[in-house]
């Protein structure tokens, strides 16, 4: 026990003597959270809309106005013809073209079906999908107004029974993407920093030759491994704390669930990440190699985490891979606990999966570590 304590003490000394370490612990999370959370939003605003109005009536103008009134659209200009509008799309100065047909007002007043032309630049498929939804929303609310207008002016007695869906966004009422992204980015941060630092740390002892010196001492493997990794476990929890404070104070992300539960999960999760770091350092000889391998895994983990693209929209085989991805579970958990207020039994399944992975990985790694003695 005394030996482990002394190794930990030595490790902390080295960590704090490393000039890059304090910025990594305190500046990196702040920057990453501030920049990424604001930048990585799925909200699409300022959609540039160009319209071609063949009708030129008060109704068509009213439609344009309702686009203009929306936060999402920026009505650019009127194009004289479809060809002109298409040209603008070609050179990339507009995102959406709205073409209002001739006799638009007349058809509407007669209760005929009329079709609007909507052309969306779909180079970015995800963005185009969202734009389509927004266009539909504006058009639908517009057509509702128009219908009411003509129905009442016709003095009709029968009000068409309308079924309107009123979406309610639970756990994130304003559908604020920051609320959604900040916890996820915090997960990335905790994972990346602890994985990189721990995988590089043991390799560093190999690189400087001190591992050889350590190996001729009576230190036992478990003492050495615990002594080396414990500081990064603490570091991971410190990072979580810094991140949670930022989330609360800067982003006002609600913290509905139990903070203790978050720490419990993170504590177990970090065992898995540190085991991975140890595994990487087992099979590498230099910090550079360790860094590359750790990066490789982190990139895959991030893209398959469900943070930037929903897991439900991945192909089946990719969804299966995500079951191996620790970040996936952590992202799920942190959102559940922070936003939804999930309790221990709600996350027990994920917690036991992570605990199982952590146990299995560490057994394999320590076993491999002994073999390469």
């Amino acid at each position: 026990m005394k030996t482990i304590g002394y190794i930990i003490q030595k490790e902390f000394r080295q960590i704090f003597r490393n000039k890059a370490m304090l910025p990594i612990i305190f500046v990196m999370p702040v920057l990453q959270l501030l920049i990424l959370s604001n930048a990585a939003t799925f909200d699409i605003k300022n959609i540039r809309l160009l319209y071609v109005d063949h009708d030129r009536t008060s109704t068509s103008r009213a439609l344009i106005n309702s686009f203009d009134a929306s936060d999402y659209f920026k009505v650019m200009d009127r194009a004289s013809s479809h060809a002109k509008a298409y040209e603008a799309m070609e050179n990339g100065s507009v995102d959406v073209i709205l073409e209002i047909p001739n006799k638009f007002e007349k058809d509407l007043s007669l209760g005929n079906v009329t079709a609007l032309g909507v052309y969306i630049n779909a180079i970015d498929g995800a963005k185009a999908g969202v734009e389509n939804v927004y266009v539909n929303q504006v058009v639908q609310s517009f057509s509702k107004q128009v219908q009411l207008k003509y129905l009442s002016s016709a003095g009709g007695t029968v009000m068409a029974a309308k079924v309107a869906s009123v979406p309610a966004f639970w756990y994130n009422k304003e559908l604020d993407y920051k609320t959604f992204m900040v916890p996820g980015i915090l997960v990335l941060l905790v994972t990346m920093v602890t994985l990189f630092l721990s995988s590089m740390n043991i390799v560093r002892e190999k690189e400087t030759g001190t591992l050889e010196q350590i190996n001729v001492t009576p230190i036992k493997k478990y003492q050495f491994i615990i002594g080396k990794l414990f500081p990064f476990w603490v570091l991971g929890l410190v990072l979580l704390t810094v991140g949670l404070l930022l989330a609360k104070l800067v982003f006002h992300v609600p913290l509905v669930g139990s903070v203790a539960l978050l720490y419990l999960f993170t504590a177990v999760y970090l065992l898995l990440i540190l085991g991975m770091g140890l595994l990487v350092s087992n099979y590498t000889d230099t910090q550079q190699q360790a860094m590359f391998i750790a990066w490789f895994f982190v990139v895959i983990f991030i893209l398959l985490s469900g943070l930037f693209t929903p897991i439900e929209s991945m192909p089946g085989w990719a969804q299966k891979i995500t079951y191996l991805n620790p970040i996936r579970y952590f992202v799920e958990i942190i959102r559940m606990v922070m936003l939804k207020g999930s309790g221990f039994w709600d996350i027990a399944r994920q917690l036991s999966i992570i605990a199982g992975y952590a146990f299995a990985l560490n057994v394999i790694t320590v076993w491999g570590y002994k073999k390469t003695r």
Partner: protein
């Protein structure tokens, strides 16, 4: 690749034993096996009466090892490194201070300084202190004097002698033949095989070939001509002289002198000399070469 082949030797308690051979001879591999860092494919070895495989834990408590490459924590201070190694060996600096006092006192004024800022000589003294702090029975030093200036080398050997006199068995490896005579006994090693194990005096005394130091104005031509001289056994440059041995007793300095004069050499000097360790090493490794 086989680094070591059929090696058998014994070091007596309290000896200062030198393992001498050129780079790549297998010295480090042998040390790594003896300090339990590597397993040998075959054979057995014991250190301080303990088997290097079965009793590796006990060996680690009983030996001190100073690797050829400096390997202490550069970002910790002198004091912190020493404390660290003392603690992981379950002892304290105070407990064994006597043993390292002579060495450590020279670097003590810099004990707050980080190791990265120390000179080569000071680093070496610290490494030795760290290897000694748990009062090992056997001390392994892998090429401690490689790349060290002559004065520090001398000093380092003096320290070793003093340590050795306190009863610690010391195994030291070196590529420098001139350090051989500072050891009680030595083993000459070449390409993973031992050439001879004995005291330096005996090794030299048992060497029967007569050795001649030859010099002339044009050294390059001299080597060439000596190699053409009928009956030559070995010819190699050694400082300003060429060391020459003859294959049979049918040799006289006069005959060689006449031969060289006939070849047009000037300022010819031929002196009979006493063979040194390096001469023996050359002779033995050459013999080994012809046997294969």
């Amino acid at each position: 690749m086989q680094a070591l082949r059929d090696i058998t030797f014994e070091v007596k308690p309290g000896e200062l034993f030198g393992l001498i051979g050129p780079d790549g001879a297998g010295k480090t591999t042998l040390f790594r096996i003896l300090t339990t860092l590597l397993f040998a494919d075959e054979g057995t070895a014991s250190v301080a009466g303990m088997d290097v495989v079965g009793d590796y834990r006990d060996i680690r408590k009983a030996v001190g090892y100073m690797p050829g490459r400096f390997s202490l924590y550069q970002d910790l201070s002198v004091e912190e490194n020493l404390d660290f190694f003392a603690t992981i060996f379950g002892t304290t600096v105070e407990e064994n201070y006597d043993l390292i006092k002579d060495i450590y006192i020279q670097i003590e004024p810099f004990k707050k300084r980080r190791v990265v800022a120390l000179s080569g000589g000071m680093k070496q003294k610290l490494a030795l202190s760290c290897a000694l702090i748990h009062k090992p029975k056997v001390l392994f030093l892998d090429e401690p004097t490689t790349g060290v200036d002559p004065v520090s080398r001398r000093e380092f050997w003096d320290m070793l002698k003093r340590l050795n006199s306190t009863g610690i068995t010391v195994l030291v490896s070196t590529p420098y033949m001139d350090e051989a005579e500072l050891c009680n006994r030595i083993a000459l090693i070449q390409e993973g095989e031992l050439l001879v194990v004995d005291s330096p005096e005996n090794i030299v005394a048992n060497h029967t070939d007569s050795l001649y130091k030859v010099a002339a104005k044009n050294t390059y031509m001299l080597i060439k001509d000596l190699k053409d001289f009928k009956g030559n056994k070995s010819v190699y440059a050694f400082g300003e002289f060429i060391h020459y041995t003859h294959s049979n007793s049918d040799f006289s300095e006069e005959r060689l002198g006449e031969y060289l004069e006939a070849k047009g050499h000037e300022d010819i000097k031929i002196v009979k000399a006493r063979a040194g360790i390096e001469d023996v090493f050359m002779a033995l490794s050459e013999k080994k070469g012809t046997e294969v």
